[in-house]
């Protein structure tokens, strides 16, 4: 007979919103969700942004973020009903019985205090352990989570450890008071894939060893498949499907779940390079002003007309810096940029309007890439006006044509960016780039801020536009699934160098260099047991060396 640790029944959560120009009103963001969780089990909550994942996670500790209110339903933890209990009892519950691991460890740790102090704080505060006991437990957890130098890492400040290490410290923080339930809220989303795998394994081991139950919140189905026993799929505050991990991954019932499982399974046939590249980066070495080290070393790559070159690497590998050099924002120290048979001036000021027009850029964060005080019509219309001198009816007709190309209707023309969804914003940015009739578009992580299904739509749109407009993409991304879906050739970057470069078929075929191997094998795959397999393989490899 297993004991129900967490029971949520018909949970309803509302929020008060303040739409501009209208009266504030209440909306429901979670409509009656129910589930149970046994001791030692892991339930994955998955869905797009706005699905109510985090809100439900926090409600299991009877907490609502600012403006959010639990309006109905019941939550039991260890058989006690926790909604409506007084704050003092809740305080005992939070931080000891139920703990929380947030997405950004860097933002959650107090930068002015040492890690150890913060990890044991809750245990000490609740009087569960003496200081010595708590510290011993923390060191034990650091060891379990695979942190280097577990005895002393607690004496460091949060900025003195890496992002992946800090995320593990946060997990130690959550596990230290011996909780019964841990809520993991996107703990690996902000990490690089190669780091993610370590943190995932550490979390999984820690859950198994300590026997806690966990709610694991993420938008990445492949990740949740590795750690959870059960998965609940949420969409816009409703439960779509709830089942064992095996069933959800291998036999999804609902259509929405099937979409999630099959997302990005489309493969793009790589085209062979042509004779004349439209863009050539030749031996570029660059550094930022006021620093004394190069961030790019001898970077060389070619982009062919109508094709896609994917630049892949972790954060800090120099992908975006390469884009800055190409656009002229960061003149290189050495090396040259050739564009369509001519040399481009290293700095922005020296480039002609034609140079600028033919090389456009799309940004990662669509919401800051558009002026919030301009309408969609102005945003898309400006390049038309600026490069082609279009005015009045002619301009409007072309804007409507472009809106049509990005699959948005004419009614969007007078909207402001704040009135668009994330995917729509990115589409408008694509239209702005297309308006200039460019030969090359640099896409800097254009899908990483989007939900998987929305990102998939954007990728398909980009691919269709490439066929129609014959535009070449320099596609910067850290996501290898995206690369597989869109690239013709690939440049893998690591610490400012291109470590592997060539047509997609060659780059993705063995034999691999060490880094590419690590990168490729770190991309979560949507099947059970993938995580263990990878970790096992790596152990064997390192034993073999």
């Amino acid at each position: 007979m297993s004991e129900k640790l967490l029971k949520v029944e018909n949970l309803k959560i509302g929020a008060r919103i303040y739409p501009p120009g209208e009266k504030p009103r209440n909306i429901d963001i979670v409509h009656g969700v129910s589930f149970e969780l046994e001791k030692g089990k892991v339930l994955g909550l998955i869905g797009e942004s706005g699905a109510g994942k985090s809100t439900i996670g926090l409600a299991s500790m009877a907490y609502g973020r600012g403006g959010v209110e639990i309006t109905g339903g019941k939550v039991w933890v260890n058989g006690r009903e926790i909604l409506g209990t007084n704050l003092r009892d809740l305080r005992k519950l939070r931080g000891t019985e139920v703990t929380y691991v947030s997405q950004s460890a860097a933002a959650s740790f107090n930068p002015a205090k040492k890690i150890m102090e913060q990890v044991i704080e809750a245990s000490l505060h609740q009087g569960k352990f003496s200081k010595k006991e708590a510290e011993a437990r923390a060191v034990e957890l650091f060891t379990k989570l695979g942190l280097p130098d577990p005895e002393n890492i607690g004496n460091r400040y949060p900025h003195q450890v890496s992002g992946g290490q800090l995320q593990r410290c946060m997990t130690a923080l959550a596990l230290c008071p011996e909780p019964d339930l841990v809520v993991f809220d996107e703990p690996t989303t902000a990490l690089d894939v190669t780091t993610q795998i370590d943190v995932l394994m550490a979390i999984k081991d820690a859950i198994r060893d300590t026997g806690v139950a966990a709610l694991y919140i993420t938008h990445d189905l492949a990740v949740v498949a590795q750690v959870s026993d059960e998965i609940m799929v949420l969409r816009m505050g409703d439960m779509v499907e709830h089942g064992t991990t095996d069933q959800i991954i291998n036999n999804p019932v609902e259509e929405y779940t099937r979409d999630l499982v099959s997302v990005r399974s489309t493969q793009h046939e790589g085209k062979p390079p042509t004779d004349n590249p439209v863009l050539t980066v030749e031996n570029v070495t660059a550094r930022y002003k006021g620093t004394n080290f190069d961030v790019l070393h001898n970077v060389t790559m070619e982009l062919h007309p109508g094709q896609t070159l994917a630049v892949v690497g972790e954060s800090g590998s120099g992908k975006s810096t390469t884009a800055r050099v190409i656009t002229g924002l960061l003149p290189p120290r050495e090396g040259k940029i050739h564009f369509d048979g001519r040399d481009l001036s290293p700095d922005l000021e020296g480039r002609s309007r034609e140079d600028l027009r033919e090389l456009q850029m799309i940004y990662q964060m669509a919401d800051v890439a558009m002026n919030p005080r301009q309408t969609v019509g102005t945003i898309i219309g400006r390049p038309l006006e600026f490069y082609f001198g279009m005015k009045g009816k002619e301009k409007r007709a072309r804007i409507i044509e472009l809106l049509d190309e990005i699959e948005l209707g004419v009614e969007f023309i007078d909207r402001y960016p704040a009135e668009l969804s994330g995917g729509q914003k990115q589409r408008v940015c694509i239209a702005r780039a297309l308006a200039a009739k460019p030969k090359v578009i640099i896409c800097d992580e254009v899908t990483s801020a989007l939900d998987p299904l929305v990102a998939d739509g954007i990728l398909k749109l980009l691919e269709n536009l490439q066929k129609v407009e014959n535009v070449a993409y320099l596609f910067i991304t850290h996501d290898l699934a995206t690369v597989k879906a869109i690239a013709d050739s690939i440049a893998v970057m690591y610490q400012g160098r291109v470590v592997r470069y060539g047509p997609k078929t060659e780059v993705l075929a063995p034999p691999f260099d060490d880094y590419t191997d690590l990168l490729l094998s770190s991309v979560p795959e949507m099947r059970l047991g993938w995580l263990e397999e990878v970790v096992q393989n790596r152990k064997m490899e390192s034993a073999g060396n």
């Binding site: 501009p20 027009r357 964060m365 890439a369 005080r373 301009q374 704040a418």
Partner: protein, 271 residues
């Protein structure tokens, strides 16, 4: 129909009233500015609602014309300081480098000298005319606006949409007026209310010290100065302009607060 909060309504009413009176002063004032119509410091009566001043002129008339002068100088100085300060501030932020350094250090230099003393020195060697007064006040105040505008623009200048405009090849004028200005408007509008009040207080102070508006014309500060001796004898003539300055200051601030609240929740506004 939008709802105007009561505080803003009060502010709007008084601000509106003062500006209306200022604009239509010659039509409203019962007597002429310089005409002596009675005894010295007569108490209020049906002919002279606020009584008479230190040489027997109608105080209500003096107040109406004085308000006109005060508000005109303050408005003109504020407009000057905002136009100059924000354009220079935005330019410094967008151009950056040594241009920014030179401009900012120059502004620091001016700001390190107490404004009032600086103004007193300048006005004591220059002929005190309305134009000079406005120029001095506007230029001195523009340093404050410059600091604010530059700080706001530095933040906006690093946004991707500004970078996108630069990559498109847009000139500085477009970047400043079309990309940065609309997004910097709300803090500037709030500051404008505050700066206007400081201008009112400043011109009143200057006139009170005798370096502002020259007799027989007077602004509210000047009227306080003319009638200040009466206070010793229990005559409240000097308090009338003082109250006027205070109510104008408060009501303009109420309006500015409301405007700030509204602009930040505009379509596409941030926060």
């Amino acid at each position: 129909m939008m709802r105007i909060p009561p505080a803003a309504l009060i502010g709007l009413f008084f601000t509106g009233l003062y500006f209306f009176v200022a604009v239509f002063a010659p039509l409203i004032a019962p007597y002429s500015m310089t005409e002596i119509v009675g005894d010295v410091w007569e108490p209020s009566s049906s002919e002279h609602w606020l009584g008479t001043d230190n040489i027997g002129r109608d105080l209500l008339t003096r107040m109406i014309y004085g308000g006109r002068t005060t508000i005109f100088i303050a408005t003109a100085a504020t407009i000057l300081s905002f136009t100059l300060g924000s354009i220079l501030g935005f330019t410094a932020a967008v151009v950056g480098g040594w241009v920014d350094q030179v401009m900012s250090r120059f502004v620091d230099l001016i700001m390190s000298i107490p404004t009032l003393i600086f103004a007193l020195v300048v006005l004591s060697v220059m002929p005190v005319t309305l134009l000079i007064l406005i120029l001095v006040m506007g230029l001195l105040d523009s340093t404050r606006v410059y600091r604010l505008a530059r700080a706001v623009a530095v933040d906006i200048n690093v946004m991707d949409y500004v970078e996108a405009a630069k990559l498109r090849g847009e000139g500085r004028r477009w970047v400043i007026f079309r990309e940065i200005l609309p997004n910097a408007l709300s803090p500037l509008v709030a500051e404008m209310g505050l700066r206007f009040i400081f201008a009112v207080l400043f011109v009143s102070t200057l006139s009170f010290l005798g370096l502002g508006v020259q007799p027989p014309n007077a602004d509210w500060g000047g009227i306080v100065k003319e009638n200040k001796d009466g206070i010793v004898y229990g005559i409240p003539a000097a308090l009338v302009p003082a109250v006027a300055i205070a109510t104008l200051a408060i009501s303009v601030n109420l309006v500015a607060d409301w405007v700030l609240n509204r602009t930040t929740s505009l379509k596409g506004g941030r926060g």
